[in-house]
């Protein structure tokens, strides 16, 4: 009968719950967060959500630590739990936790950095009202938790379809979060819409690429694609076009030129804590996905994609460095800096070796901490209209508040890759890996662009220290405990990874093996 036939053909997937726990915990906590939104009284929501989110991420981190050393493919081949996957998940959890501290800060502005309703017409009366008076939306917590869960799944996805689902899961909350800035509402809404539309395009490319790769390989799981690459009797053009389209989707998320154009606008328009989250965690997740796709699925066609991606890396570093020079807004400057840094990570990725993998992982973590601290300081420099992000307003900041100017200078030096900062160690790692893999041209381009991009950083430093504070130079707000903690953690990590990088280097070295 019908049931017998079905029972024979139906194989239930085996799920390794311990290995999946980090993601399952986060998704569960996200659902609970939505329920809290539905049930808890308005006043209780913020503390409940904050505690819930922190505990959730901590629990997820614990699960990751407990799963350390696991190497297996589970959930019917959909999820791979291995060294790089767990390392990336751990970085996403830690960086997400620090970003969450920034996001939860409510002492700088009444009601926090977010408005309650993102879709209210900008500059209408209702909008002004909610911007000045209303308490911020606490929906941001479940959204962030879902997003972090999606990022973790993205870094661990072992087939293209799971990857696509994860991509959407972590992107959609980010689109929404971008629209919720309390100040400069129109800019925020524009950023969200732009991010959403371009992101939708990128997703469509990614999906179409999956279809073409499936047409070539007949499989969507990475092991199957790996086996089929170069061996499949199908037209090789399917593979190339498919890989190109999949790569476009990934490069968009990682903000690599020429798919970077959304970055400055979105980074500028989004609420600064969310920008910090995107710069740190999204970058980790996007490169995690890119690494897995390139290293696991398409390793055997590396001779085909390496020159193209190498050109993209050079272009990214150039675009990021050169355009950073012309910026007059600190958030846009940091956005271009993040583009350039993405280029450096790609240099490490393109080594296609264990050293390349390890150095890329290290770079992502090091950069994540620095950028979180940098955006944390940006949230502190404010005047009556909110954050003072125009560069001219930062002139003479060193005289007004030497502590934060020092910290920011230190972080800028880290971005520039000066020794004794994590930036130096990270850059050294990726360049060394690239030279080892005979990709010297990438390293040359990297060194040249590093010199170029040092200029805008130094300009900010000079402006802060050597200019006289003007009338319009804002004072630095006294940070609340949460922002202070986030900035401290970020800056301390930047310093520590510059002075004693060995523990983390060992960790990345040990983790750098993909399971297939």
């Amino acid at each position: 009968m019908t049931t017998d036939i079905a029972a024979e053909t139906l194989k239930l997937p085996s799920l390794d719950y311990a290995a999946l726990a980090p993601m399952l915990i986060l998704f569960g906590v996200g659902c609970v967060g939505v329920l809290v939104e539905a049930i808890a009284p308005k006043k209780a929501r913020f503390p409940v959500q904050l505690v819930l989110a922190v505990l959730g991420i901590a629990a997820s981190l614990t699960a990751i630590v407990l799963a350390a050393g696991t190497e297996k493919v589970t959930a019917a081949g959909a999820v791979a739990v291995d060294g790089p996957g767990l390392f990336l998940q751990g970085s996403i959890a830690v960086l997400g936790l620090v970003a969450l501290l920034l996001i939860s800060e409510r002492s700088l502005e009444r009601g926090g950095a977010f408005v309650a309703q993102a879709a209210v017409t900008a500059n209408s009366e209702a909008d002004r009202d909610q911007a000045t008076r209303g308490s911020g939306a606490t929906e941001v917590y479940p959204l962030i938790i879902f997003s972090l869960g999606g990022m973790m799944l993205f870094a661990a996805a072992n087939d293209l379809l799971t990857m696509f689902v994860a991509l959407e899961v972590f992107s959609l909350p980010l689109y929404l979060l971008c629209a919720m800035a309390r100040r400069r509402r129109l800019l925020s809404q524009e950023a969200a819409l732009k991010y959403f539309l371009l992101g939708a395009f990128a997703s469509a490319f990614f999906l179409f690429g999956i279809a073409l790769v499936y047409g070539y390989a007949g499989r969507v799981d990475f092991a199957g694609i790996h086996a089929a690459v170069l061996d499949s009797p199908n037209d090789i053009a399917l593979l190339y076009i498919g890989l190109a389209m999949v790569a476009i989707g990934l490069l968009f998320k990682a903000a690599l030129a020429p798919f970077h154009v959304w970055t400055p606008d979105v980074y500028q328009g989004a609420p600064t804590p969310v920008t910090a989250l995107m710069a740190a965690c999204t970058k980790v997740a996007a490169f995690g996905g890119l690494l897995r796709v390139l290293y696991v699925a398409f390793e055997r066609s590396q001779w085909d994609y390496r020159p193209v991606l190498g050109a993209i890396a050079v272009l990214t570093m150039l675009v990021g460095a050169v355009l950073a020079v012309t910026q007059t807004d600190i958030k846009r400057l940091l956005a271009y800096s993040s583009i350039a840094n993405a280029g450096y990570v790609l240099v490490g990725v393109l080594a296609i070796s264990k050293a390349g993998l390890a150095s890329s992982l290290f770079y992502l973590v090091a950069y994540g901490f620095s950028v979180l601290a940098a955006f944390g300081i940006v949230t502190l420099v404010r005047d009556a209209d909110g954050e003072a992000t125009h560069l001219s307003r930062w002139a003479g900041l060193g005289r007004r508040s030497p502590l934060y100017a020092t910290l920011f200078t230190f972080l800028l030096l880290a971005f520039a890759g000066i020794p004794l900062t994590s930036g130096f160690t990270a850059k050294f790692g990726v360049f060394a890996a690239a030279i080892e893999a005979d990709q010297t041209w990438l390293v040359i381009a990297g060194v040249i662009t590093s010199a170029i991009i040092a200029f805008p950083y130094l300009r900010v430093v000079v402006m802060m220290w050597l200019s006289e504070p003007g009338e319009s130079t804002p004072a630095v707000s006294l940070p609340g405990a949460l922002t202070a903690a986030a900035v401290t953690i970020g800056a301390a990590a930047t310093l520590l990874l510059g002075i004693v990088p060995q523990p983390l280097l060992d960790m990345t070295e040990n983790a750098a093996h993909f399971v297939r």
Partner: protein, 444 residues
């Protein structure tokens, strides 16, 4: 699964053509009959004769009306989107006809030496086809309302589509239980699954119950019946055509044969949901109990009669509802669909699935009772002890009248105040509030 469906798709071409034509004629005849039937039944309920002039007992009245419509002027409004306005009734009618393709009328019979089931065709996803067609039919309504370029049709079309999609969810959820019990989505097999009688043991008595899912799955049947009325835009859920608010709803601007097509589609949809209800819940074409004792009842052409009678009885319920119930308000109606029907359906599906999983397992009776009863008790306890948000109503001192000036609680009727002071109407307060906001916006 497919071994049972092999009898379909075997017909010779002329038989297929004949069946297609017969289904078409059946539907058109049913429509003409249903209109007459409705008018006569409603008339009887209102103690008046109803149409009785054209033909015997007025039977040809709807045919005459249809012909009259064909010779009416066909108006294309100036603001209409011509192509869409033209195509909308076609979409509605076509989808309505197509949905009936998989409804089984009877068992296998022999026609001119060819053995064939009295059913146009059946496929493994037959019920899905019916649902798909009814969903597509909504396009006709929303596009017709949109393309008219007029306010009433636009609102009517929107309301209509919002209502239909809301109730389609409830309808779709209600039949999940049927698929679960029958293990198939093909209509002929669902009818087949209902043929055996079941024996229930209640307190020592053996009760023989027909295998109809209407008895086995009462909640599903009730939800389906309610959703079907909402889905077909019939009273008391005929809000899209609320004459007092929206003139004719989405078809206000339609005239002549285009209007007739919408009318036709609506009645065919009624016949379709009745036919589907018959198939899914009332044993399909199989004869009901006393008749089924006769061996020949479920053979040959007789089942066609049982099927038609069941459909007509269901149509009678439609008319009965229209004759007795007042129209709901839109917010009440949507609230009922989203806040009552959908959670109830989901809960029922989960309960049924839980019961069946427990039945399939090898647990003891006590364990079974614990597994089934535990969640129910917990749910009951939550429901009982859930804090009541309604504020305690103060007693204004008059017997039976509360602080809000109502008799019978918040759902009751307002009564005039005893001091004869005219209360400020809630509407006036709203206008006042709006004026305030306008003035502040000018100041700022």
């Amino acid at each position: 699964m497919d071994d049972k469906l092999t009898q379909f798709g075997q017909d010779v071409w002329w038989l297929v053509l004949a069946k297609v034509l017969l289904v078409f004629v059946f539907l058109v005849l049913m429509t003409l009959f249903a209109i007459w039937y409705e008018r006569r039944v409603v008339a009887r309920m209102q103690v008046r004769p109803g149409p009785n002039r054209v033909g015997p007992a007025g039977l040809l009245q709807s045919l005459a009306d249809g012909l009259k419509l064909a010779f009416k002027e066909d108006i294309m409004p100036k603001m209409a989107d011509k192509a869409v306005f033209f195509i909308a009734p076609v979409i509605s009618t076509t989808c309505a006809f197509t949905a009936f393709a998989v409804i089984p009328f009877g068992p296998t019979v022999s026609v001119f030496g060819e053995k064939t089931p009295i059913q146009l065709t059946d496929v493994p996803v037959a019920v899905l086809l019916v649902l798909a067609c009814s969903s597509m039919g909504i396009y006709g309504i929303v596009l017709g309302g949109w393309a008219s370029g007029s306010t009433y049709p636009l609102l009517g079309g929107l309301r209509s589509s919002a209502q239909m999609i809301s109730y389609e969810v409830a309808m779709g959820l209600s039949i999940v239980a049927v698929f679960m019990t029958a293990g198939t989505m093909s209509t002929s097999q669902i009818v087949d699954a209902q043929k055996d009688t079941q024996t229930l043991t209640l307190g020592g008595f053996d009760l023989t119950v027909p295998g109809w899912y209407a008895f086995l799955l009462i909640p599903s049947f009730l939800i389906y019946a309610i959703a079907a009325v909402g889905e077909t835009n019939r009273a008391p859920f005929d809000l899209p055509e609320a004459e007092s608010e929206l003139v004719g709803g989405f078809h206000t601007e339609y005239s002549s044969l285009k209007f007739a097509l919408f009318f036709l589609a609506e009645y065919i949809n009624m016949v379709t949901v009745s036919g589907l209800a018959t198939t899914l819940f009332l044993g399909g074409w199989r004869a009901p109990w006393p008749i089924s004792l006769w061996d020949g009842a479920n053979q040959g052409w007789w089942p066609l009669l049982w099927f038609t009678i069941k459909v007509l009885l269901l149509l009678f319920v439609f008319v009965w509802l229209r004759g007795t119930l007042p129209r709901l308000r839109y917010d009440q109606f949507m609230r009922f669909g989203w806040k009552v029907l959908i959670p109830l359906s989901l809960l029922w599906i989960l309960t049924l699935a839980g019961i069946r999983v427990v039945q399939g397992s090898d647990l003891t009776v006590q364990a079974r009772l614990a597994v089934v009863g535990g969640p129910i008790l917990v749910a009951l306890a939550i429901w009982m002890f859930w804090p009541d948000k309604r504020k305690a109503i103060e007693d204004p001192g008059v017997h039976g009248v509360d602080a809000a000036g109502r008799i019978g609680g918040t759902e009751g009727f307002p009564v005039p105040p005893l001091n004869l002071e005219v209360p400020v109407s809630p509407r006036a307060q709203r206008v006042l509030g709006e004026r305030e906001t306008v003035s502040t916006s000018k100041e700022s």
